[in-house]
């Protein structure tokens, strides 16, 4: 059906990668580098849009598939494709890449070329992660992401960047290793193949399922991040430059949720089902605990980082309630979190560019000198607290609805998180925008310019578009989510007694 767009996914991966290589030999000045990077990311975004038109919503099968043997002796292929679970992440990535370039336009002044190369490599790797259908290919991209991100934090970060970069690296590396082990085990247990689709729905022995589940769980829980594996996130965000924070919050965290949906549920459904309660409880803890943490913060980036922990709690909650509302809500919540939290980090970056402070107490009353900034911050704060008519509401509502079907008590607790979100976000708005101007420097702040508005306006449109009419996005997911649910719910939960019996 989509033969006429045969190599679209390959183009999306290799366009930024090729661009990065070209850029490395580009002799021009920083301004030229920025323009080339913007052009490349914008082109990648434009090339990704046909995915939407060509996508067939009636099937759960992978689409736009390409398969080329890569290392035949180990049955390793270059295999890519998208379905209703990965499609939106690809688009989110291509949308945010040019935004990240624009956000770094003036705030990154040192080693501009290297920074843009890191961003482009990052983009290629992230798209690769979401479209890989071969486990080795997937793992290559998964690890390849880590290095530019490490560099972005460690080279262009704040004063405490080395600590933050190493913390980020160690946490995610720990997860990656377990993932690699799980992949190797699956290779042997699943018939000597790295084909992701083939590895789904295999009757793995109970013990194998058990250990693979825990390897997956740790790898993805750290990425999400779930409580109590979340403490790398606030540090990484605080030290990362704006574009780093945006990528981290909007895309990297989604890899955890994506991993649960793509690998954990369909490959080890029995083990997944037997530990749902455990993950649901951790999710609710993350929702409430993250919200409480956000309440205690005085640093804007930490506040938003902890709010991410809370919001991503809704994602894991929705995934593991294992019904259509929960999973579709979780997917939508991931997209929405990418848009909204990305925008909030952009807004923090914009004010930081002007004042070099992220401390809430340094602000107050800046809606007067910066009315546009005020409007934008209010819009994204309201979006983040799940105001109906804006994007996040749709996802959170579906997740909570789905949770209430089977775990009413947990849904009640999770819904409390929605109250807390209003408290910490509106309190933040109140302390930054409202009240009298406290310093003469703040009174002279200049409002958002055209470049900054150009960054934010597309995100605002998405906030309201998805909020008023989420159905088009949901309809992209139905077939794949139904198929996934059928895979999972066909499996009986694992009995722990089976695990300990040696085969």
């Amino acid at each position: 059906m989509n033969e006429n767009m045969g190599h679209i996914l390959t183009v999306l991966i290799f366009l930024p990668l090729a661009g990065a290589i070209v850029l490395a030999f580009f002799p021009g000045n920083d301004a030229g580098v920025r323009r080339i990077a913007l052009g490349l990311t914008a082109a990648t975004f434009l090339f990704s849009i046909p995915l939407l038109w060509g996508f067939d919503v009636s099937t759960h099968e992978m689409q736009f598939v390409e398969r080329v043997p890569w290392i035949p002796s180990f049955h390793i292929e270059y295999a890519v494709g998208v379905d209703g679970i990965s499609l939106l992440f690809v688009l989110l990535t291509t949308l945010l890449a040019p935004i990240c370039v624009l956000a770094s336009w003036i705030s990154v002044t040192a080693r501009v070329k290297e920074f843009m190369i890191a961003l482009l490599v990052m983009e290629a790797a992230m798209i690769g992660v979401f479209v890989s259908l071969d486990f080795v290919l997937f793992y290559v991209f998964w690890e390849a992401m880590l290095i530019p991100m490490y560099l972005i934090i460690g080279v262009w970060g704040g004063p405490n960047r080395i600590y933050a970069a190493i913390k980020f690296f160690l946490y995610t590396l720990a997860g990656s290793l377990l993932l690699l082990v799980a992949i190797l085990v699956l290779y042997f247990a699943g018939g000597r193949t790295f084909d992701i689709l083939h590895l789904m729905g295999q009757p793995y022995p109970a013990t194998v399922q058990f250990w693979i589940f825990w390897a997956f769980f740790l790898a993805f829980a750290i990425k999400v991040p779930m409580f109590p594996f979340h403490t790398w996130l606030p540090d990484a965000h605080v030290e990362a430059p704006t574009a780093g924070s945006v990528i981290l919050a909007s895309i990297l965290l989604k890899m955890g949720g994506y991993g649960f949906l793509r690998f954990c549920l369909p490959m080890v459904p029995q083990a997944s089902r037997s530990f749902t309660k455990f993950i649901l409880v951790l999710s609710v803890i993350a929702i409430l605990y993250g919200a409480y943490m956000a309440l205690a913060q005085t640093d804007l980036k930490k506040l938003i980082a902890y709010s991410s922990v809370s919001h991503m709690g809704f994602v894991t909650l929705g995934i593991f309630v294992l019904n259509a509302q929960g999973i579709e809500g979780a997917l939508l919540q991931m997209v929405n979190h990418g848009i909204t939290t990305g925008a909030l980090f952009l807004l923090v970056g914009m004010i930081y560019d002007r004042t070099h402070s992220r401390q809430i107490t340094d602000y107050g009353g800046i809606a007067r000198p910066m009315p546009r900034y005020g409007a934008m911050l209010v819009i994204f704060a309201l979006s983040s607290l799940g105001l109906p008519g804006m994007n996040s509401f749709a996802g959170e509502f579906l997740v909570l609805l789905g949770t209430f079907m089977t775990h009413a008590g947990l849904a009640v607790l999770a819904t409390l998180g929605v109250i807390l979100a209003a408290v910490y976000l509106l309190w933040m708005v109140q302390r930054i925008l409202f009240g009298p101007i406290t310093t003469s420097d703040n009174a002279r702040l200049t409002d958002l310019g055209m470049r900054e508005m150009a960054i934010l306006v597309p995100l605002v449109l998405l906030v309201f578009g998805i909020g008023f009419y989420p159905d088009p996005l949901l309809s992209l997911m139905h077939a794949s989510v139904d198929h996934l649910l059928a895979q999972v719910n066909a499996a009986a939960p694992l009995q722990l007694s089976e695990v300990w019996v040696r085969p």
Binding site: V181, Q325, V418, V429
Partner: protein, 644 residues
Amino acid sequence: MDALIPLLPFAAFVVIGLGDLFGRGFGPRAHWIAVPAVFGSLLLSLVAFGSVLSDGPHDLTLYTWAVSGTFRASIGIHIDALTAVMLLLVTIVSGLVHLYTVGYMHGDRGYARFFAYIGLFTFSMLMLVMAANLLQLYIFWEAVGLCSYLLIAHWYERPSAAAAATKAFVVNRVGDFGFALGIFLIFRLVGSLDYDQVFAELPKHAGETISIAGFELPAVTLIALLLFMGAVGKSAQLPLHVWLPDAMEGPTPISALIHAATMVTAGVFMIARLIPIFSLSPAAMSVVAATGAATALFAATIALTQNDIKRVVAYSTVSQLGYMVMACGLGASMAGIFHLLTHGAFKALLFLCCGSVIHAMAGEQDLRKMGGLKSRLPVTYGTFYIGALALAGIPPLSGFFSKDEILFRAFLSGGTGILFWGVGVATAFLTAFYSFRLIYTVFHGPSRVDPKVAASLHESPPVMTIPLIVLAVLSVTVGWAGLPVAGWNGIEAALGPVLSPAESSEPDSGLPAGQAGLLLPLMGVSVAVALAGWMTARYFYLTRPELPGRLAARAAALYRLSLNKWYVDELYDRLVVRPTTRLADRLWRTVDVQTIDEAVNGVGGSTLAGARVLRLLQSGQLQHYALVMMVGTFVILTVYLIAQ
């Protein structure tokens, strides 16, 4: 055509808002867009009203909002008689407030922004009343709350206004927490959120229980109570009333439109709209009635002593909303809606009059600095008087008929009904008293006005006084739509088919024999009580103006209790606000920083130390990353192979 009713104000919001955000904006000309839009909406509402009364309900699905699994919800327009009267209330009051705003907000730097937001509010409120399912109701329920937030924070540079806005939103969120859970529970039982389906299916689940966190709870009662929690927040009932008086920080036109006539009545509207659900649970209905009655009396006792002109009217609003909620709880939602309509007229009038006084006094709101204004503000005085008479329940003004209807229904509802009637009568006395306390302290007696202000005292311009006069006429006449005389009760004729089939008690067509005889005596009691309140106020504030001070000194404890609003805010601060922030801070320091991070740093430190040792072995060349990866792989593969 019906779709244009909400879309016109929405278009005004978009145009003015975008102009303000991106261009030079419309500035002082914003009303040329906003006012025609809302009056267009008013005209279309009149058309819809006529057509609905003659031809029956309108139904139009605009689009499907979302489908997921078995969940499906649409956005649409549903107009029946109940919606139609709400449309008229909203568009009329909004239209008059738009006009009034032209004068009141003249010269304000946020003039265009203000018009944009009241356009957004009008749109949201209209969509709320036109909902045909719980999801749309909830979406616009929170949207009107957003507008309330934005407009309370209009003068955001005032810390008190900023704090009041946050408080309003958060307190409403607490109520909406319950509302949302109620919706989830309905979906779990019924599998749909459409009113029709829910009303048809829910009775089948009447006896069921649901297990939540180990507790077996009666499902339908729980649903009703959870939904009611939303109404308690929105309609400022005990114990979530605390946001409404603070909301008076917003400009006065907003107090009239949002915080008196329309948005705060959404809770009452919701109970009436969902009365088929509520009437399934007598227990929930009792809670509703008791909450309403308690709020009515409680808020009235506070209104007695407040010194801020707007706060008196605000507590009066809380109290009157209590009447409406009580009526719904007693199975007389029609009387509740009737009072909602009359109250919409006279309370909007009272607030706009307050605005006119404040405008004349250059922003002064303290009653102790007013007095003797009647000759300087004749139109405001006259219309304020009419508003006070209506609020006090003096016949034949509108407030009398609707309040009397509620008291009458309370008396007839049997059992504890007489108690509710008693609370209602007591509140009516207090209401009349504080209404005329306002009149006498603001307009009569010697002037206590600051001489500087006194020199510039002036009646408001016609663009403000004309809305006052129109609302005064409505405050007199709206009540006549619901005369308690067979054949003359337009309210009953219109709303009866919508509201009474599900009403728990008697069919509303005519009164049962034996009860009709009670109508006149009870009416006599209502009139007598209202007159008594009025005359007491007259005695206290005109005849013996030194009395209130002496009484306050004599009953100092009671006086302080009322003046300090029963210390509810202080209580919340101690029990909720401060413990929450303290807990957050403690948790962060002990769990995140001290426990988890210490553990991670310990692991990280030992890894680095280990790597340093290994690096020595490998002459320092090997990448840390690759090494850890390989070692880890090896170890775990070994474990796996051994396990095999």
